[in-house]
């Protein structure tokens, strides 16, 4: 084969590619701004209904759960609700548009022609999804703070800011990586299964309503749910928001969140590449 021109190398190339990455992110944020009302609506509904039923209706009618006995159920619920929001938004905001772009609109064909490596296009989707997941998490705070019956206010304060930021960021990256993987693998006509087969089981078995440690009476479940990424999100948030409640040790959830983000992310980048380059 004949000699080929070597393109601009090194630092210049990296700067150019970072610019493209930034522009793709700017595009996604532009779209988010345009649809922010819609975004808020789908983000708020789930935690709002949750706290309305569990923090307002239940105490009023004299029903209630007491996972940790000494604290109110709303306190137990807060980290769980934040994690659910992160998980839900992270998966949805990446997977649903992607399934569309792959099948119906074919927009993806144009995006992969942007002058960056294909994995970079996929990585940008993870980052954009994670940003939406973080916003979704932050939206939960005012809701849980405001909606509750008298005396049922949650007791939450961030004890350890770096730990909270760590939990927030890596939970969001993990959820968005999962969203990318699902989005590249699921067929458009099966998109409705995304919720019943993936999101719902993850949500209900994600230690949202009880700390993981309290599952001890059901050992098989206690260890089975360790496969669920949401468990580590809730436990990490529990450690940073309600450290008075039982939670996993740092090494366990940090390993799962960081390792899971990297592992799922890499697999998702590969399946993405396989979908767009033949």
């Amino acid at each position: 084969m004949s000699a080929a021109t070597v393109p601009v190398a090194g630092r210049r190339q990296i700067v150019l590619q970072l610019e493209t990455f930034g522009a793709m992110l700017a595009r996604d944020l532009r779209v988010l701004r345009r649809q922010f009302g819609q975004f808020l609506l789908r983000t708020i509904m789930q935690p709002l209904l949750f706290v309305f039923v569990f923090a307002y209706v239940f105490p009023k009618i004299g029903q209630g759960f007491h996972g940790g006995a000494t604290v109110s159920f709303t306190t137990i619920l807060v980290p769980g609700l934040i994690a659910v929001s992160i998980n839900f938004q992270g998966i949805q905001s990446v997977a649903i548009p992607l399934v569309q772009e792959f099948s119906v609109s074919k927009e993806i064909e144009d995006r992969v022609l942007a002058p960056v490596p294909v994995w970079s296009v996929a990585l940008e989707k993870i980052v954009a999804g994670a940003i939406q997941a973080v916003i979704a998490a932050l939206v939960v705070f005012p809701i849980v703070d405001l909606v509750h019956a008298r005396g049922a206010a949650p007791v939450i304060h961030v004890q350890d800011w770096p730990l909270f930021v760590f939990a927030l960021v890596f939970s969001s990256l993990l959820a968005a990586s999962g969203g990318l993987l699902v989005g590249t693998m699921i067929e458009p006509r099966k998109i409705t299964l995304l919720f019943s087969v993936i999101v719902l089981p993850i949500t209900f078995l994600g230690c949202v309503y009880y700390p993981w440690a309290t599952l001890s009476p059901i050992p098989w479940l206690k260890y089975l749910v360790l496969l669920n990424p949401l468990v580590y999100m809730t436990e990490a948030l529990r450690a940073s928001l309600t450290p008075q409640l039982p939670h996993m040790p740092f090494w366990a959830y940090s390993l799962a969140l960081v390792g899971g983000s990297a592992g799922l992310g890499l697999i998702a980048l590969r399946t993405f590449h396989r979908r767009v380059v033949t």
Partner: protein
């Protein structure tokens, strides 16, 4: 073959060397592109012509990084596409077969963000977006969302978008399949203007008249192989495309048909009632001779017409007449 450059230009806008793509599914092996050697010069308007499944889109895919060659190489401005895809992509503008416009953005934003993806500065991207919308008569629709556009407008916007970052090469993959004749003619005008301004263009099409009308050189592809390469004129001359001369006489055409077969350069004659169709190559002087012979057999010519040779005959003689899906 006719007009292939004598020397290899390492930095030609497009060059392929033994470019091949083999798809394997189960036991079946499909040679989508089979040892393609191409070289396209700067400012050239080049056409890849072939029936469905000939390998046109796979070739475009390999040149634009979305299909990885099985063997051989594709080079854009001398850059090995498979080895440096990101650098190669920076030089390309691609208009694909399907509408891949960003449905979440407005018409103007589609151009602006595309420019930004390609490293165009904010100010320049704004200026280019305005300029291209004006050039493509889309300014009025700047704030429209994509779903509001007709097929023809979307097509125009796709071309405008591909030009925002001033690509070295513009790729158009069957841009006129499935659009109405007015839009097609309009599009041809746009492409001619771009070509006149010096844009290197690679077009794929299965419309022969389109390749004939627009392209300076054409490669005819089938089953992944190049069957012919040259300017439309050269192809017609080399592959014996014939001019069709039809005359209508005031009586039975058969005596004239018998005479016509004697005329030099006439390949074939058909007679039907009072009309006679003569296929000739070259056709110079044939019509005059035909009128003279008609007089000689006592017939006078009422009507005469001449259809110039078309690529269609070349195409069909090379690719055969069997039906393709």
């Amino acid at each position: 073959m006719a007009s292939r450059p004598a020397t290899v230009d390492e930095a030609a806008p497009i060059r392929t060397v033994g470019l091949s793509k083999v798809y394997r599914s189960g036991r079946e092996t499909i040679h989508a592109v089979d040892g393609l050697d191409l070289e396209i010069g700067r400012g050239e308007f080049f056409g890849l012509l072939g029936p469905n499944g000939a390998g046109k889109s796979t070739t475009i895919g390999m040149l634009t990084t979305t299909v990885v060659p099985t063997s051989g190489g594709a080079f854009i401005e001398g850059i090995d596409v498979a080895r440096h895809p990101a650098a190669a992509k920076r030089l390309l503008g691609v208009v694909s077969q399907t509408n891949t416009l960003d449905r979440q953005l407005t018409v103007w934003e589609n151009l602006y963000y595309h420019g930004r993806f390609f490293g165009v500065s904010r100010d320049e991207a704004r200026r280019r977006s305005d300029e291209l919308l004006a050039q493509f008569a889309l300014s009025e629709r700047a704030a429209a969302m994509i779903f509001e556009l007709s097929g023809g407008l979307a097509q125009r916007l796709m071309i405008a978008r591909a030009l925002v970052h001033r690509p070295e090469i513009l790729f158009l993959d069957e841009p006129t399949s499935g659009i109405d004749p007015q839009t097609r003619i309009n599009l041809w005008g746009i492409l001619r203007d771009l070509h006149a301004a010096g844009q290197t263009i690679l077009l794929t099409t299965h419309y022969m008249e389109e390749a004939d009308a627009l392209c300076e050189r054409i490669a005819i592809l089938d089953h992944g192989k190049m069957l012919a390469l040259g300017s439309p004129r050269e192809l017609k001359a080399d592959y014996g495309a014939e001019t069709v001369i039809a005359v209508t006489v005031d009586g039975d055409g058969r005596p004239l048909a018998a005479e016509a077969e004697q005329i030099e350069n006439v390949r074939r004659v058909e007679a039907d009632g009072s009309s006679v169709r003569v296929f000739a190559n070259p056709a110079d002087g044939v019509l005059v001779a035909l009128i003279e012979r008609a007089g000689a057999v006592g017939l006078s010519v009422r009507d005469a017409s001449s259809l110039p040779p078309s690529l269609e005959t070349v195409f069909l003689s090379l690719t055969g007449r069997e039906y393709r899906e």
